[in-house]
Amino acid sequence: MKSSQSIFVPVRGLKYHVRSWGREDAPKLFLLHGWMDCSASFQFTVDALKNDWHVLAPDWRGYGLTQWAGTDTYWFPEFLADLEHLLDHFQPDTPVNLVAHSFGAAVACVYAGVRPQRIARLFNIDGFGARDFQPEGAPARWAHLLKLVREGKRFGHYASFAALEQRLHRQFPKVPAQRIAWLARHLAREDANGGIAMLSDPSHASNYGPHFSNRLDDSMACWRAITAPVLWLVASDGSPVRRTADLSDGRLQARLACYRNRKEVWLDDTGHMVHLERPEELARLIEEFFPAGLQNAGSAA
């Protein structure tokens, strides 16, 4: 297993944790995790990379070892500004290589349209962007968010790592037990009472804030503004969002079509957690997509 270093960076008032693998002067790859995940879950993908990379994977605000926001709701655009701050911190002068999964990809793909000149290449792992909410449903959605705010945080506790592993195994049946065990120990830690406490801010659990403040039509306008090549990796049994009605029929294609310069790769018999299920395949695709010539983009300046 390749060892990672922990870097802490102040980002908009929060102490961000960024996991770093590889030589600092190697070409950089930014890996962005998704909802209810953490940077450590990229370990197996990083292990499978063959080339020399400096991999930087932040824990988003309120996840992993990054500070919680101190609020009861996380809003979608906060992640855009955090991403910009992180990229400017680590690679201010040249376009960056982004690999992003799920919710992280939703952020990265909007960001790539807002700041097209900052992106060299973008690898989207099973991220389908916003839900297709209609304005008429807004009162009910907002009322639901108020209810969640009213109920307050519900902290995630488990009796033991074994109990958490069981839950993760049910959720991700295709991920091998050894990786589930690793993931459990990075999603949670032992608490003072001998139990296990989730590291992620329970405010993420409802996830309604980011949902409501990320509209599909807005995201699509941003996706159309992307100039960088995009690889969209679609897991056949992937994103739960994909299975909802708003991605049926031609709607998935309408989303894909927003990316002018794109390549689609479909992985059969693969669930949403591609980086945990098929890290070798993912690493191979990543290294094919970020070719040797572009590997130097990070150190060109």
Binding site: R12, G13, A69, G70, T71, D72, T73, W75, P77, E78, L80, A81, E84, V110, G113, V114, R115, P135, E136, G137, A138, P139, W142, A143, L145, L146, V149, R150, G209, F212, S213, R215, D217, D218, M220, A221, C222, A225
Partner: protein, 302 residues
């Protein structure tokens, strides 16, 4: 001048300041201020009220004496959440009376559509709701918002109270000098660098000026859907030289003023001639009896 007392409440982790006038135990009126304003501005409206009320006026997060959020951007949804918690804190049961101005009325009007059963009466003072915005506009808003985040924000400073008063008087020519002086005192604090020479700065969080963040999180179509869902009688008080007229061109691409107000099904509009946006400062003596009558009798009378 009727004296107010200051109450403080923990609202979603922030220490909120709520100005209270009148008799605890009397029927509650919530007065909700607008952007770049504070609860103190309702002083003159409260002075003119005749009824037995318990008036509660919060300073929104990052305004007046309420704590700043600590974040570099304020999001629309947080104001909905704060209002919900404030109402719960002071009046957990039954129906509430909301009197709200400008941005405060935007929040209150959306809220009234989210929790229609919680609202007895809604008074919307010169508020027209969100700016229209296409998806492409959102892309521009995100760009402008993030560009501004790179630049440190500082509260505007003034050499003296007189200088701030002159600025406020120019912006609000119809407001009397006595009231201008009152709000200037309430809106400012000593500028620590220049306190010895009488320097002052605005006390609200300068992050409130990052309007692209707010606009990005307050969508016109969603606000209109919420307005449709309001069941409470709604009184809409409009200034002829106020927000609607001045911003009509900006607002019309999404929905005209008439389109917007048509969403409020159980409502009545009253226009005030020769009146600017700060109606509570300009015409408190005329507003107060209209508001009190509406709270007591609804739309049926008057």
């Amino acid at each position: 001048m009727k004296p107010s007392t200051s109450l403080f409440a923990d609202i979603r982790g922030l220490r909120y300041h709520i100005r209270s006038w009148g008799r605890p135990g009397a029927p509650i009126l919530f007065l909700i201020h607008g952007w770049m304003d504070s609860s103190a501005s309702f002083q003159f409206l409260v002075n003119e009220m005749r009824g037995d009320w318990h008036v509660l006026a919060p300073d929104w997060r990052g305004y007046g004496e309420t704590e700043w959020s600590g974040n570099d951007t304020y999001w629309y949804g947080d104001f909905l959440g704060d209002l919900d918690r404030l109402l719960h804190h002071f009046q957990p049961e039954g129906q509430v009376n909301l009197v709200a101005h400008s941005f405060g009325a935007n929040v209150a009007s959306v809220y009234a559509g989210l929790q229609p059963a919680r609202i007895a009466r809604l008074v919307n003072i010169d508020a027209y709701g969100a700016k229209p915005g296409s998806a492409e506009d959102m892309l521009k808003r995100y760009k402008r918002w993030m560009r501004r985040l790179d630049k440190p924000l500082a509260a505007p400073t003034y050499a003296s109270h007189a200088e701030l008063e002159a600025r406020l008087q120019r912006a609000n020519p119809r407001v009397t000098a006595e009231r201008i002086s009152f709000i200037a005192k309430n809106w400012s604090v000593p500028d620590t660098d220049k306190a010895a020479e009488g320097g002052i700065k605005l006390r609200h969080d300068p992050a409130h000026t990052l309007n692209d963040g707010m606009d990005a999180s307050n969508r016109l179509e969603e606000a209109m859907a919420a307005w449709h869902a309001i069941t409470a009688p709604t009184l809409i008080l409009l200034a002829r030289q106020g927000g609607a007229i001045l911003r009509a061109k900006d607002l019309t691409p999404g929905a005209t003023g008439a389109d917007r107000f048509a969403c409020f099904q159980n409502s009545r509009q009253i226009w005030f001639e020769d009146t600017g946006h700060m109606m509570h400062l300009e015409r408190p003596a005329e507003l107060a009896p209209i508001i009190e009558d509406f709270i007591q009798n609804g739309l049926a009378k008057g």
